[in-house]
């Protein structure tokens, strides 16, 4: 049971949430036994790690470098594969008692469709599929699916055909126009778009005179990217009718409120959980406080209020 009031209940892209705060993919263990005490408070849903058809060991070498108010990561989608997820990890993950959003990554459309087929065989409920389009399309020379309109369209269309449940698309901030790519996802049948993912950056080890990461580039997250993510959410929310889920750099309760006022129907928190496992609860308190102060009854009333 959520310790928070009904004012935070919301329905986002076909998923009923007790609160609009979602744990983003890739930052939290899928075994709730490992979660720090109190960290489930205020959590409306949880995203799985990025799953692939086959198990992946992830990237070799250095995987994380701290930057100014941020973190660069190059994990490389380490995961046990979708079969293992359905057979083993999903039951533990479901113990969280929250809607489960399954994030999937893929190198080819065949991989994508096969991964979805495995998920369809799950006896446990999957509330939504979150399509990660920031992974490389190997059939296009490794270019990210989400930065080319035709690539994105083919991926979302394939996922839509294969999956008859709720489909969210987690857009890449490297896309030339977040608004257009959100609209494209909507046109291909997505129920919501998540805006967005990590920003590509890099770091150099000056002593070794080499990039820190074997893959050279890595994904930037954390408070440093919040203003960029807020702008992207604003653009996306102005372009589509389907809900936008804000994701990127939310580190304080006020950041989540800003995202919602910019047009996000819910928010995902990630890197900030590295330093504050109770952020979801703090966000909920901030949203309730703001609703009271403004005399509003539901978090839905706040969505896009800064756009008036």
């Amino acid at each position: 049971m959520s310790p928070f009031g009904t004012s935070l209940r919301t329905e986002v892209g076909g998923v009923d949430l007790d609160t609009p705060v979602i744990v983003a993919s890739g930052v939290w263990p899928m075994d709730p036994a490992l979660w720090p005490e109190g960290s489930l408070d205020g959590v409306g849903a949880v995203c799985s790690k990025g799953l692939t058809l086959k198990p992946r060991d992830g990237n070799p070498g250095c995987r994380i470098v701290e930057t100014y108010s941020g973190v660069l990561n190059s994990i490389g989608l380490q995961n046990s594969g979708v079969d293992h997820f359905v057979a083993q990890e999903l039951s533990a993950f479901s113990f969280a008692g929250r809607p489960i959003i399954v994030n999937i990554a893929f190198e080819t459309l065949d991989d994508l469709v096969e991964t979805v087929e495995v998920l369809k065989g799950s006896a446990l409920k999957i509330s939504a599929l979150e399509l990660n389009v920031s992974c490389p399309n190997v059939t296009r020379g490794g270019m990210t699916w989400g930065i080319h309109p035709e690539s994105l369209e083919s991926a979302v269309t394939a996922a839509r055909r294969a999956w008859n449940g709720i489909l969210w698309v987690k857009l890449s901030p490297q896309a030339p126009s977040v608004g257009e790519f959100a609209e494209l996802s909507q046109g291909c049948g997505a129920e919501a778009v998540v805006v967005g993912n990590t920003w590509l950056g890099m770091a150099i080890d000056n002593e070794r005179e080499r990039p820190f990461f074997e893959n050279v580039f890595a994904g930037l997250s954390g408070p440093a990217v919040f203003p960029l993510a807020l702008r992207a959410v604003w653009e996306a929310a102005g372009a589509v009718e389907i809900p936008v889920i804000g994701c990127g750099g939310i580190s304080r309760p006020q950041d989540a409120l800003s995202m919602i006022l910019a047009g996000a129907s819910a928010v995902e928190v990630g890197t900030a959980l590295f330093v504050d496992s109770r952020l979801p609860a703090s966000i909920c308190r901030e949203l309730e406080r703001h609703l009271r102060e403004k005399g509003l009854s539901s978090v839905g009333d706040l969505v896009g209020r800064a756009r008036r």
């Binding site: 490992l34 979660w35 720090p36 060991d57 995987r63 994380i64 701290e66 504050d276 496992s277």
Partner: protein, 265 residues
């Protein structure tokens, strides 16, 4: 034996206040933190992510092994190596801190009655708690290695905490000339367990203890970390038995689990 040793206590995020921060040589600090609420008791080898409260730059908590762990008071020993540890070293008593822990698996209670601890410089940190936790139940010998000149305040501090600690230095200015692995190999044998913490090259060399009849070698690894609780996979390592997370599968591992089967004569 202390039945709680080595078992992971549930980690929690806690606010703390710096009680003292003392220099122990050129780049080392010994700090004590008073917590606002008690944490689960931590075993030697478990660690906390420690950061300045409410500050987003530097962002991440630094994984530090607790040297003394009480209900509401923790002590840490660390070396200043970058922005995060510089920031922690610059704080004055009363400064607010955030701590996540206790994280990971510590050293399990030794099976036998003889234990050899081998540390490379700051690798001594997790052993300070072990020596006091084990008390007189186990015959403990500690071996420390340092570069040499300039490390006197550090070695004196360690000698004060662990009387009888065997010193080794690369330049021979402190204790024996040589590295702590060679020194420890003169002491190991059947019935003696070995725990190591320090540079990875040193830990790898500790596998030679098996040749001397040592049956159990445990090592504590160090990695850059994000969440500290097994979620982000920033600290994953490749092992003969697959990918392992240093933060929750370790940081204390059986030597064989990390390095494979030792070479035997």
């Amino acid at each position: 034996m202390d039945s709680g040793m080595g078992k992971p206590g549930s980690p929690a995020d806690r606010k703390g206040s710096l009680v003292f921060s003392r220099k122990v040589g050129e780049n080392c600090r010994h700090i004590a933190v008073e917590l606002s609420e008690a944490t689960a008791p931590s075993a030697p080898g478990q660690f906390f992510l420690v950061r300045e409260w409410g500050v987003f730059d530097p962002l991440l908590g630094r994984p530090l092994a607790s040297t003394v762990s009480g209900n509401c008071r923790l002590e840490f020993l660390f070396q200043v190596t970058g922005r995060g540890t510089s920031r922690l070293a610059s704080l004055t008593p009363g400064a607010a801190l955030e701590l996540r822990g206790p994280c990971g698996n510590g050293f399990p209670a030794p099976v036998g009655e003889k234990l050899l601890l081998v540390a490379g410089t700051l690798g001594i940190a997790p052993f300070l708690g072990a020596v006091s936790a084990l008390g007189e139940k186990v015959d403990v010998t500690a071996v420390l290695g340092v570069p040499g000149r300039g490390w006197e305040p550090f070695t004196e501090w360690c000698e004060d905490k662990i009387p009888g600690i065997r010193l080794n230095s690369d330049d021979g200015s402190l204790g024996r000339r040589g590295d702590p692995v060679e020194d420890s190999l003169t002491l190991v044998g059947p019935g003696r367990e070995l725990w190591g913490c320090g540079p990875e090259a040193m830990l790898r060399e500790l596998g030679r203890a098996y040749e001397k009849g040592c049956e159990k070698v445990l090592v504590s690894l160090e990695r850059r970390m994000g969440c500290g609780i097994g979620g982000c996979l920033s600290c994953s390592i490749t092992t003969p038995s697959g990918m392992k997370r240093v933060c929750v599968d370790g940081p204390v591992f059986d030597w064989r689990e990390v390095f494979g089967e030792p070479l035997r004569n």
